[in-house]
Subunit: 707 residues, 2 copies
């Protein structure tokens, strides 16, 4: 093994620790800011308590789940034995993956719920200081995620490979490496399990609370947004953190880990003489951390400036530096004479190009998403215009837009797949996915900034701050909506690429050379896979509907039974609403979650590895397209509605979007339909496609033996 | 060749002529009925003129399209030459397929638009006579479709094979047969081209007229349904014929032809020593005609009886007889020692079982569709209940239901594919598709009966008949809605199976042994294919929206400018509305149509046969699931709305669905959203998946040479 490669693998845990140190520094900075007056602090405390209450309930359930699945995994793999490429150590990776993802969610939420009120307070001073606090809060989530993910993965890899002969006794060196990587796949499955619960549960939570707060509080009782008399407002603000901070964090944690592991496993195909292709993904991830940290320093705004511009500078700057760095790293680590897989000879430059293709596709899909979901752009304008002829035309326009918006991103992904694999085979696809995700640190920081800013606005409203404060937080929040749209597009694109990477790794681990669609079982798998995202989405949407009904009844009950509540003389029982959302979310994520985990197992063992491959292909294609559709339709409906708010809005073409008009009401209905689209079902599909692939990858050696 | 097989092939044209004779007999019977009073006849005449005007415009355009594509096909295939399995004669088949499908649409519409007013008149006498006329009208469409399809196919096959040495000089006997079947595939593409224009154009037509009639006439001007003062009412009634008679007819014509040709081409794989496997599909189709004719005699109802029961008797009876007959035919025609393809030995019984599997899956999918779309069943009840909390919950419920409803049909199709191919390989899948479609004659009769009954009700209303007449036609119409739902499910299932049959035939013709998803170009094809149905649907829905806007403006203009119109003193300019719908439909079907035809050509020649296979797999899976979703969501919204109509409706659980309530209004919005789902985009997807497969099949030999 090359000395550089040998030393290089230590870069992963080292730079992971750097990311954690940076996150800690940011966390201390956030903590050190003033938290404002007593009223602000009380409200913030209730949001924080609600968020922690959700995490506590979620993690209690998850702990049980992780232990049970961990034991099953360990036992199933122990039975087969090392000579069949199975290792019970996979259970250790699984538990650690789940634990670290959970831990990242905990830290991220903890700081995000401290940052919100401090952002409100900072907004009293100006836009710049407010952005600084909000972005620092988001950055903690971003860097804790990449730090813990890479620390766990990097350390496990070093331990598994250096202790190879102890952990995997009686097999040759080459197989030890193979077993080490097999064991590592459990880490990805652990991360995916947390992501499933965080995304699906979080999605149900946030929308149940949102609908409850809006429908009863705003519509029935006529209270303004974020009014402290509304019992569901705290749950609503908790929901922003649960869904958009912890949910998004776990989602990208999973993608990040999946892309790295997928690439590492596929690196095996180049032969084990040189570990370069296997270690390279860890180093790229490490370099991505440095680029992300550098990027954060560009996020600055002056009073009157545009926070969007500052965030773009940070994210695109990091991506740009990363693109260059990639070639340098590949040059150093890749075997000098190139490496060969099948008929394909891959050079260092080829690997660099594949990485950059991934980066470029990720950025492009994000930008297209933002085009389809931004105010003052033709798509959203069109939906707003169609609201003027009523609710039905608003809905049809939104659905049509969402469907149309799938075209370019899918073409880009397809081009990315063909391009990356042209240069570096299936390894290239995985490395492209990683390229896309290498700057996850800052991407997620930008994403998680949104809900912090949103919360800050809520706290400003509830604590009756001066209008200028709310104005500033609104400015931050508006940018947050755009970054959220971009982030969602990015999350879907990265989920698609990661799923493909895991899918390719699955084929290799299952020992099948191809998946032939002309085989009837593969056709059947493809059909079943194509259907699952629909079934999964319908379950998620139904869960939101049911949970929202419970919330609606509780809010109505409080208005009815708590005397003086509407007059502001009594406090609502916010904790009860938080508890309802929490329990509803936890209870209702079980069936869709089980569907995602059990289906690949049943198909894999019942119909064989190739049929399972068909299932994965079906679920990935159908899931990604459906996710783009739902996410963009939801985003467009949201902003079409916003074009009627804020005291009426004059469009570029001079037409007036009047607040309170019939068109506005139609747009509100569209937004309500869009909410579970973009915040529950859509993002959950990211998890579905990755989780099913990673489950397949983990059970691949077992299937290979069984068949 | 076996003597029985030799003679057997003549069964196809003979029984096809029987079907046409039966259709003629039914047509004469319909013509012979009284057409009622002068007012009824005037209205009926305007509907008929509108329908014929649409056909005339459509066919003028189509003629140009068919000539151009026919020449292209001929020239492209002439260049290659016979030694490369290419024959310019394919152009003859193409033109004939298009011509016969168009002719079927013409006859079917012609009689349907005679039957409607005669049904109204017969309803004065009673329910039984009215059902008889309406069903006879539908039967003409049904039997003209199967008759012309089988006559064309059967005759071409005989001509191409008996004149083999003249048509395909200089090649051996085995290759002559292959070339004959290659030439035959053009017939399927011709049929598909007409289907595309009939379904997409018809779908746009019918919904533009419907929205115009409803939104301005009913909502803005407050006129009741089918009021003669409403300028768009005639166009609306024309639309029922254009969409549900001609559109559905062309759709099933295409499926029927595609399934037969797919099976025949795959029959080649058993070796050409015995023509049994190649001729069998023609004989099964011929037998299906007999069963269908027998079935029609069971369609009788007494006054106070249930027309649904009568129609079920006919359709299920025919299917039951067919299931038995299948085994008898297979026993006679299949090589006594069985036949072998690859490792699989297939006996006559195996073929029989595969056919019955197809029949069973078709019936089952139809029934499930009906469950999800029928009033008084939990799914529709649920949507109606959710209307009580507003429009948004109605929409979310409908979308959730539609998504959920994809699960069982897809599982059934997957089981059908695995089951049929277990017994008879890919040939089994094609023969299962044919089994499903063997009784198309009566299936389509039942389907086309619906719009005739619907029209009859409209004419009763417009010509101010006594309430009892409208009551009876309403009873027929209500049943028509259920049969329409079943028919749509059946059409989708058969489209899925036909697409798979064509897909398998494509692989054989392109000379590829498999389609490996792990190849990046196949992955890319799969993604692009998965996206196309969304893009196609968005185009179709956008076309409806734009065409509807034109119609709305025209109707408003007439109310404004024609003096005395609303008072009933002046006649509306119905012809203008018909012209608007016609032109809008024709103009707007060009781009989606081109997309469906050009994409496989571009991908096939640009990226190769395997990538094209991936594209087809993606479009089939994604298209079928999306079609089921859209179709069922639309059907459920429709009936949820209906549960609020007819003077209020008490549900089984005792809850009242009050007419004119807020919940009713919410349900109306849902229905408006559902209309383009179930009548435009959803059914058009059936065509998309089949057309793309058949284009691939037709160009397969060209790609095989090019690569």
């Amino acid at each position: 093994m090359d000395q550089l490669v040998q030393n290089g693998q230590f870069a992963a845990p080292v730079f992971a620790l750097l990311a954690l140190a940076f996150a800690a520094w940011k966390a201390v900075a956030v903590r050190g800011k003033e938290a404002g007056d007593q009223e602000m602090q009380t409200i913030a405390k209730r949001i924080q308590e609600g968020a922690m209450a959700f995490l506590k309930t979620e993690y209690t359930w998850l702990a049980g789940f992780v232990v049970v699945v961990g034991i099953l995994l360990g036992v199933a793999n122990a039975i087969g034995g090392l000579e069949n490429n199975q290792t019970p150590i996979i259970a250790v990776s699984f538990v650690l993956g789940a634990f670290l993802s959970g831990l990242a969610g905990f830290f991220g939420m903890r700081i995000a719920t401290l940052a919100n009120v401090r952002t409100t307070h900072a907004a009293k001073k100006g836009l710049g200081p407010a952005l600084e606090v909000a972005f620092s809060g988001g950055a903690v989530m971003g860097f804790v995620v990449v730090g813990l993910a890479l620390l766990g993965l990097g350390s496990l890899y070093i331990v598994y490979t250096t202790m190879g002969s102890t952990l995997f006794p009686g097999v040759g060196e080459a197989q030890q490496l193979q077993l080490a990587l097999t064991a590592l796949t459990g880490f990805s499955m652990g991360a995916s399990s947390i992501a499933l619960f965080a995304r699906v549960g979080g999605g149900i939570y946030t929308k149940a609370a949102d609908v409850g707060a809006d429908l009863v509080g705003k519509v029935e009782a006529g209270l303004p947004e974020d009014d402290p008399r509304n019992p569901a407002v705290i749950a609503d603000n908790v929901g922003d953190n649960v869904g958009d901070v912890a949910g998004m964090g776990a989602d990208l944690f999973e993608s990040y880990v999946g892309a790295i592991i997928g690439a590492m496993v596929l690196g095996l195909a180049f032969g084990v003489a040189d570990h370069g292709p296997i270690v390279l993904p860890l180093i790229i991830a490490a370099a991505g951390i440095v680029c992300s940290i550098v990027g954060t320093f560009f996020v600055k705004v002056k009073e009157g400036g545009n926070p969007q511009h500052a965030l773009d500078m940070g994210a695109f700057g990091a991506a740009g530096v990363m693109a260059v760095l990639t070639f340098v790293i590949a040059k150093q680590l890749w075997p000098e004479a190139g490496a060969t897989v099948g008929d394909l000879h891959v050079s260092a430059t080829d690997v660099g190009i594949a990485t950059v293709i991934g980066l470029a596709v990720g950025v492009a899909v994000g930008l297209i998403t933002s085009y389809y979901c931004s105010m003052d752009k033709p798509p959203v304008d069109g939906v707003a215009e169609q609201s003027k002829t009523g609710t039905a035309t608003n809905i049809i326009a939104g659905i049509g837009l969402g469907m149309q918006s799938t075209a370019v991103p899918i073409v880009l992904i397809a081009v990315g797949v063909v391009g990356a694999s042209y240069f570096a085979g299936l390894y290239g696809v995985a490395i492209a996915a990683l390229g896309m995700l290498s700057t996850t640190g800052i991407q997620l920081a930008v994403d998680a900034y949104g809900p912090v800013a949103d919360n800050a606005g809520g706290i400003a409203e509830m604590s009756h701050q001066e209008p200028i404060v709310r104005e500033r937080t609104d400015k931050l929040d508006a940018v947050g909506n755009t970054t959220a749209a971009i982030g969602k597009g990015f999350a879907i694109a990265s989920a698609a690429m990661t799923a493909l990477a895991l899918f390719a790794a699955f084929m290799q681990q299952a020992g099948i050379s191809g998946i032939n669609i002309s085989k009837p079982t593969v056709m059947a798998g493809l059909f079943l896979g194509g259907m699952l995202p629909y079934l999964f989405s319908s379950m998620a949407m139904k869960a939101v509907g049911e949970a929202a009904m419970e919330m609606i009844e509780e809010v109505r009950r409080q208005f009815r039974e708590i005397e003086g509540l509407l007059e502001g003389k009594a406090k609502p029982d916010a904790a009860k609403c938080v508890a309802i959302s929490t329990n509803a979310a936890i209870k209702r994520m079980v069936v869709p979650g089980a569907l995602a985990i059990v289906t690949p197992v049943v198909i894999g063992f019942g119909m064989g590895a190739e049929a399972l491959g068909g299932l994965l292909a079906g679920v990935t294609v159908s899931g990604v397209v459906l996710a783009i559709f739902m996410s963009n339709a939801g985003g467009a409906w949201d902003n079409a509605k916003k074009s009627f708010e804020g005291g009426g809005y004059t469009m570029k073409d001079g037409s007036l979007h009047e607040k309170g008009s019939e068109a506005h009401k139609a747009a509100v209905v569209g937004d309500t339909v869009g909410d579970p689209f973009k915040d529950t079902a859509g993002p959950s599909l990211n998890i579905l496609v990755k989780l099913m692939s990673v489950v397949a990858l983990v059970i691949a050696p077992l299937i290979a033996v069984a068949s």
